[in-house]
């Protein structure tokens, strides 16, 4: 009467996840790069040569210097050149990444929480609540994101808080839809029925039982949405609707330089552009690998 099969202390879900994730070299490289970018964003004030927001420190005499040139008072070298206000591009890019990543992450977190709650509610409770939430999401998704963001920003004006609100308004519907579709599948499974039969409260079943099982697709969508939020913010700033000129994000830096692009002063636009590109690409690399790891159907055994 052997009831107990050999019981090995198996890896925790996190260990298994980490092993699968770092199985790909490209993804590992992307992850390392992403960590560096995030660290650069966090520690921008400590590592940048100049505070680009301190207008008193800027010297118009230093404007539009080529990469590698020294400032007029010879106190510093501009590794990536300066913009038309004499701002050190390297510092501006570091601060720009900081703002772009911050806006991308914060708007994603808020939109995720909002969309996830609404999506779970729609997936768990059918009927009118579901119909209402999902039709609003449908209407929202039928407009181009940039249009919605433009209208909102035109109404509310500039500012970090306003652009975050605009990005949340654009993004929540993706999460609501993804969560609902995952929740609809999971809700039919017997463990939810068993949880109901245990007399657990609906809120508990939703957040404790349903939610963790809906997370894998959401993590992938969220990772991809951080990248698209950063691009959207850059687009809006480029169009002059995003952040104020005193706190330039990457998009604004690109916009600042593009009029000088044809006159050979490439560095003002190109370097922030490369920073934006690398940031978005690394996030997408990591998100792609997340999708492969978290989707059992794509997994190679």
């Amino acid at each position: 009467m052997e009831l107990t099969p050999a019981f090995e202390v198996a890896e925790t879900p996190w260990q298994r996840f980490a092993r699968n994730f770092f199985g790909s070299k490209i993804a590992t490289a992307g992850f390392v790069l992403l960590v560096l970018i995030v660290l650069a964003a966090i520690f921008a004030p400590a590592i940048s040569p100049q505070n680009p927001y301190d207008l008193a420190k800027l010297d118009v005499m230093d404007s539009r210097l080529e990469p590698g040139q020294k400032s007029v008072d010879a106190s510093m070298t501009y590794l990536l050149g300066t913009d038309d206000q004499g701002r050190d591009m390297l510092s501006a890019i570091l601060y720009g990444i900081r703002i772009s990543v911050m806006v991308g992450v914060v708007s994603t977190i808020i939109a995720l929480s909002l969309g996830l709650t609404l999506g779970l509610l729609a997936g768990y409770a059918d009927g009118r609540i579901e119909a209402f939430i999902m039709r609003v999401a449908d209407i929202q998704l039928s407009f181009p994101p940039i249009l919605i963001a433009l209208i909102l920003l035109a109404l509310t004006g500039r500012g970090i808080d306003k652009i975050i609100i605009a990005l949340v308004a654009v993004q929540w519907a993706y999460y609501a839809r993804t969560t609902r579709s995952a929740a609809l599948v999971e809700r039919k499974k017997e463990y939810i029925e068993a949880a109901t039969a245990l007399g657990l409260s609906p809120l508990r079943i939703m957040f404790r039982h349903l939610l963790p099982n809906c997370l894998p697709p959401l993590i992938v969508v969220a990772a991809l949405q951080v990248a698209s939020a950063i691009s959207l913010e850059a687009t809006l700033s480029f169009l002059g609707l995003g952040l104020p000129i005193t706190e330039p994000s990457l998009g604004l830096l690109i916009a600042n330089g593009f009029q000088y692009l044809l006159s050979g002063k490439y560095w003002i636009s190109v370097f922030p552009g490369i920073a934006l590109l690398v940031t978005v690409v690394t996030i997408n690399l990591v998100a792609d690998q997340l999708r492969d790891v978290l989707n059992p159907r794509l997994q190679t055994q």
Binding site: L3, V9, P13, L198, P212
Partner: protein
């Protein structure tokens, strides 16, 4: 009613209003279960046996609805209770064990989390106490090294082990009634035997009443005290296991028993009930079984009522005699 009766179901009717028409999934079902008694609820797929279980739990999903009858748990009609009070009864006074143990535990939560949650949903105890109760419940269902097991995830368990955990969870709050919806169907016969034995023992010890929903007559024969046979949403025959299984009086019960493979008439073709289970959407008038019944007469176009025949309840105009029934056994 005396104190020893745990559950009385009276004329329970559960219906589904579908586009194609009204489906009477559970039609005028009545039975009762005493403390420590095990009732087998037997029938083919779609006979309404599982829906009877869900109706008692108050877990009938739309478009289904309980439209009539009473469900008395220790004299209190569960149908009168508001939703919140019914939730307090589920998992506490009535527990349910499901068919597929692979699916009934949440794959992302550890066993201790799931068990402690079940305790704390109904009892105001600390996490430490809840954990200790969970540990004891695992020991009670025969799980070795419960401390390690508590910290494991469901995927680290075999099917039989998971069903033991599911049973342990059902036992946590010492319910008055446990409804088992084919809990051993997905398991090996050896594991099934162990689980049946343990469930029987646990029920007798704790006085928990048990409703065992199954299509397997041999399980009922070995486990249950009483048996109710369902066909097309109605109970066609019910009584003690000895009476009903050894001396079936309803042609359907007889057909079920005869179609189970046994080793006596070895090599001979198995008997089967001709035809298919009728769709609940268009049942024949009168006795739902008459189109498949060898004994049907014109009288069977009237609906037979449940009446007492030879120490059991029977819904048939033409009770079989033993000489016919004993051909198979």
């Amino acid at each position: 009613m005396d104190n020893t009766t745990t559950l009385v179901v009276n004329n329970l009717q559960t219906q589904f209003a579908t586009r194609a028409g009204l489906v009477k999934a559970v039609d005028q079902v009545s039975f009762s279960v005493k403390r420590g008694e095990i009732m087998g609820l037997v029938g083919e797929s779609g006979s309404g046996k599982s829906m009877t279980g869900y109706s008692i739990m108050g877990l009938v999903d739309a478009p289904g609805k309980i439209v009539g009858g009473e469900i008395l748990l220790q004299g209190k009609n569960l149908r009168d209770l508001p939703a919140e009070a019914m939730r307090k009864i589920r998992g506490n006074r009535i527990a349910m064990i499901f068919q597929d143990p692979m699916m009934t535990l949440n794959p992302v939560l550890r066993i201790d989390t799931q068990m402690m949650e079940a305790v704390r949903a109904h009892q105001d105890v600390s996490r430490m106490v809840a954990r200790e109760m969970s540990r004891e419940a695992l020991v009670r269902v025969g799980i070795a090294s419960p401390d390690e097991r508590l910290q494991a995830y469901p995927h680290q368990f075999s099917g039989g082990m998971r069903q033991r955990v599911a049973i342990a969870i059902a036992l946590l709050n010492q319910p008055d009634l446990i409804i088992c919806d084919e809990p051993t169907t997905a398991l090996d016969v050896t594991i099934q035997g162990q689980i049946l034995y343990e469930m029987q023992k646990l029920c007798r010890e704790s006085g928990t009443a048990l409703i065992w929903i199954t299509h397997d007559l041999s399980v009922v024969a070995g486990l249950a005290d009483t048996v109710s046979v369902m066909y097309a949403g109605r109970i066609v025959e019910s009584g003690t296991v000895q009476q009903v299984l050894d001396h079936p009086r309803h042609p359907y019960t007889y057909g079920l028993i005869a179609s189970a493979p046994s080793r006596n008439p070895r090599g001979q073709p198995l008997q089967q009930i001709p035809g298919m289970t009728p769709s609940l959407l268009n049942l024949p008038d009168g006795c739902a079984f008459r189109t498949r019944c060898a004994h049907a007469t014109a009288e069977c176009q009237q609906t037979p009522q449940l009446r007492e025949v030879e120490q059991r309840m029977l819904r048939c105009f033409h009770p079989l005699r033993d000489s016919v029934a004993e051909v198979v056994s």
